[in-house]
Amino acid sequence: MRTSQSSQVATREKRNIARVFGVALLTSALLTGGLTSASAVGSATISGTYPANQTAYWGTPRYNTQQYNKVRVYLNSYSSPSTIFFGIRNPAGTTLGTTSGTLSQWKNMTASNGSGAMPRGTFYMNSLINYYCGNPLSCTIPDQSFNAQLQWDIAW
């Protein structure tokens, strides 16, 4: 999977500044929505090409820093005629959330219980593109591709 990073602001540097300026900056942070507002939203452009009708498990680790934040996907483009699904899975093999992709829409990942609250920790993306073929005996199924934005660690 290709990724290009638009991601995390320099949170570490921000925190170092915060430590230097201490109470003054802390007060400012609280006024603007609390300390969690200083947390960066993770963001990446993701794309991949792989065989149709197969679930591809991608290898770039991502990190949801806050407990029960949202993860969402914005589908820029994908092969058609097809449907596309995304999922995220933690290193222990637990599916944390899934969603179907819809062009030009943000779609939240949801757990099997319907919750969109994703736990803190490392996760990996997976994707599935179903290819519909009018006559399965005669059609050649090409590799499928997608391009999407992934965001995670989004506070409620």
Partner: protein, 166 residues
């Protein structure tokens, strides 16, 4: 969890990482060249990645011979393919988890072992793809703050979050 990059050069444990270039996590295959690992190749791929790894584990620990739990419980009817990078990422994480576990098990450590643990945990960042490395720094920073507020250690928090599958 503030550790100096200088710690990379402490102890012999990292010689393999530095000399061998680690697991090569930055080498993400580009679209069009991607080789996917199929479900029936998972065990062989894991064995290949771990046997070629030069990462040094704490004494008495090593890579599991079985692929991580990540690969279990997948829909057997589904056709699953895996980006090779996934195996490298999980191997690096298994290694990190071994060192996290070492730091949690140890209690008061001899100073040399503390340095070894720190050096190895620090080295993890260098094994990640560039974009993941940046994200991991943010994650680590947040964990340190959360751990402080919850009266635990960043290592314990991270171990709980991320090491259940190894």
């Amino acid at each position: 969890m503030k550790r100096s990059k200088y710690a990379l050069y402490i102890g012999g444990a990292l010689v393999g990482v530095v000399a061998g270039g680690g697991l090569g996590l930055a080498a993400t295959a580009s679209v069009g060249e991607t080789r996917f690992v199929t479900q029936d190749q998972v065990a062989a791929e894991w064995a290949s990645v771990t046997s070629q790894s030069e990462l040094v584990f704490p004494e008495g620990k090593s890579f599991s011979a079985e692929p991580p739990q990540f690969f279990q419980g997948l829909d057997p009817k589904a056709k699953n393919v895996f980006e090779p990078l996934l195996f490298e990422s999980l191997a690096a994480q298994a290694w990190r988890c071994a060192w996290l576990e070492e730091s949690l098990e140890s209690g008061p450590k001899a100073r040399v072992l503390e340095a070894q643990i720190d050096a190895n945990l620090d080295a993890y960042e260098s094994l990640l793809p560039p974009e993941s490395a940046k994200e991991f720094v943010t994650y680590e920073t947040e964990l340190a703050e959360i751990a402080a507020s919850e009266g635990t250690t960043p290592e314990a928090l991270e171990y709980t979050n991320d090491c259940g599958g190894f």
